[in-house]
C-alpha cells in the first residue's frame, strides 16, 4: 500500500474488521509512513482510554453544552487537510466520551433511584414452617398491611388464614 489509508480503514484495522490481506498491507504501510503509524498509535490510545472510562455523572446543562461544542466542530469549515485528521481524532475522542456518558445516563435512568425503595419495609421471607403435636400452619402475606402472617391452628379444627394464603405445612 503506497497511498495512506483513509480514516475508516484505520479504525477498521484497529477494530480487527479488515480482511487479512488489507490488514497486512496496512501494517506494511505503517513501516514506511511514520505519520500513519503515529495516527494509529493515537487512535489506539483513544480506544484504550474509551475502554477505561468511568461513567461520570453529567448534568443536563453539561450534556447540552457538550453536544453544542460537537455540533460546532462538525459544522465548522475544514481549513486544512492536515488538520482534518486531528479534528477527526478529537471528534472520535469526544464521541467516545459522550457514548460512555450516554451509557451512564441510560443506566442511571433504568436503575431505580433508590434500590431499596421497591422492597417492602417489612420484608420477610419465610424459608420454612413446620408443626408438630397436632397443629398445622399456614402463612400469608398481606400487601395492604405489608405484613407476613404465620397462622398456627390445631389440625383437628383447621381454620383458613384471613387472607392471601401462600403456604401450608
Amino acid at each position: 500500500m503506497n497511498e495512506c489509508p483513509i480514516e475508516i480503514q484505520l479504525t477498521a484495522y484497529l477494530d480487527g474488521e479488515l480482511p487479512t490481506d488489507q490488514a497486512t498491507s496496512v501494517e506494511a504501510h505503517f513501516a514506511s509512513c511514520p505519520a500513519c503509524a503515529q495516527e494509529m498509535a493515537a487512535l489506539r490510545s483513544v480506544k484504550e482510554m474509551e475502554g477505561g472510562l468511568s461513567a461520570p455523572e453529567v448534568s443536563k446543562h453539561e450534556w447540552d453544552r457538550a453536544w453544542d461544542a460537537i455540533s460546532k466542530r462538525i459544522e465548522a469549515p475544514r481549513r486544512r487537510a492536515l488538520g482534518f485528521r486531528w479534528r477527526w481524532l478529537a471528534f472520535a475522542a469526544a464521541a467516545a466520551a459522550l457514548l460512555a456518558t450516554a451509557a451512564s445516563i441510560r443506566s442511571l435512568q433504568t436503575r431505580p433511584a433508590n434500590p431499596m425503595a421497591a422492597v417492602p419495609k417489612n420484608e420477610c421471607i419465610v424459608d420454612y414452617v413446620e408443626t408438630s403435636g397436632g397443629y398445622s400452619s399456614m402463612y400469608s402475606y398481606s400487601p395492604d398491611a405489608d405484613v407476613t402472617i404465620i397462622t398456627l391452628v390445631p389440625s383437628a379444627a383447621p381454620e383458613e388464614p384471613p387472607d392471601h394464603a401462600s403456604g401450608k405445612s
Binding site: 422492597v119 419495609k121 417489612n122 420484608e123 420477610c124 421471607i125 419465610v126 424459608d127 420454612y128 414452617v129 413446620e130 408443626t131 408438630s132 403435636g133 397443629y135 400452619s137 398481606s142 395492604d144 398491611a145 405489608d146 405484613v147 407476613t148 402472617i149 404465620i150 397462622t151 398456627l152 391452628v153 381454620e159 388464614p161 384471613p162 387472607d163
Partner: protein, 145 residues
Amino acid sequence: MFLVSASWALAQEGHDVDIQVISVSATGRGTSPQFDSRIPRGLRTQLERSNLAYSRYDLLANSRQPAAFGREVTFPLPDGEGLAIRASAPQPPASLLRLDARILDRDQRAILTSQLRVRYDATFLLHRPKGDAALILGVSAHQPK
C-alpha cells in the same frame, strides 16, 4: 449486684440484636375494630389492614430482649407457652437477619418451628387462633440502641 452481673454476663455473650415481641389478644368479629391505645402505631396499622377481622385488640405484653447472634431468647406466652427466637447475623447481599422462631407448648415442646429472613425493624405476625379469639404476636428484630 445482680444487674451488674447480668450486664457483665450479657457483655461476655455479646449483644448483637434486640428482639421485640408484642403480644396482643384479639377477640370477636367485626369490621370496625377497637384498639388498645398501648398497641404501638405500626403494629396497629398492620392489624387494621391485615383483614384479620377481629373486633377488639388488647395489648398483653410488649417485651424487648437483648440477644447474641446464635443464642436463643425465650418470651413467655399465656397458658404456659413460650416463644423462642434465635437470630443469626445478616448475610449479604440483602442484609436480612435470619430468625428461627419456635412456639413452645407448656411442656417446652415445639409446636411450630419456622425460619425466616427479615429486615431490621420489620415486623411479622404469629397468629394463634383459639375459638373466636386469638393470640397475635408481633415479632421484630432491632439493632441495639
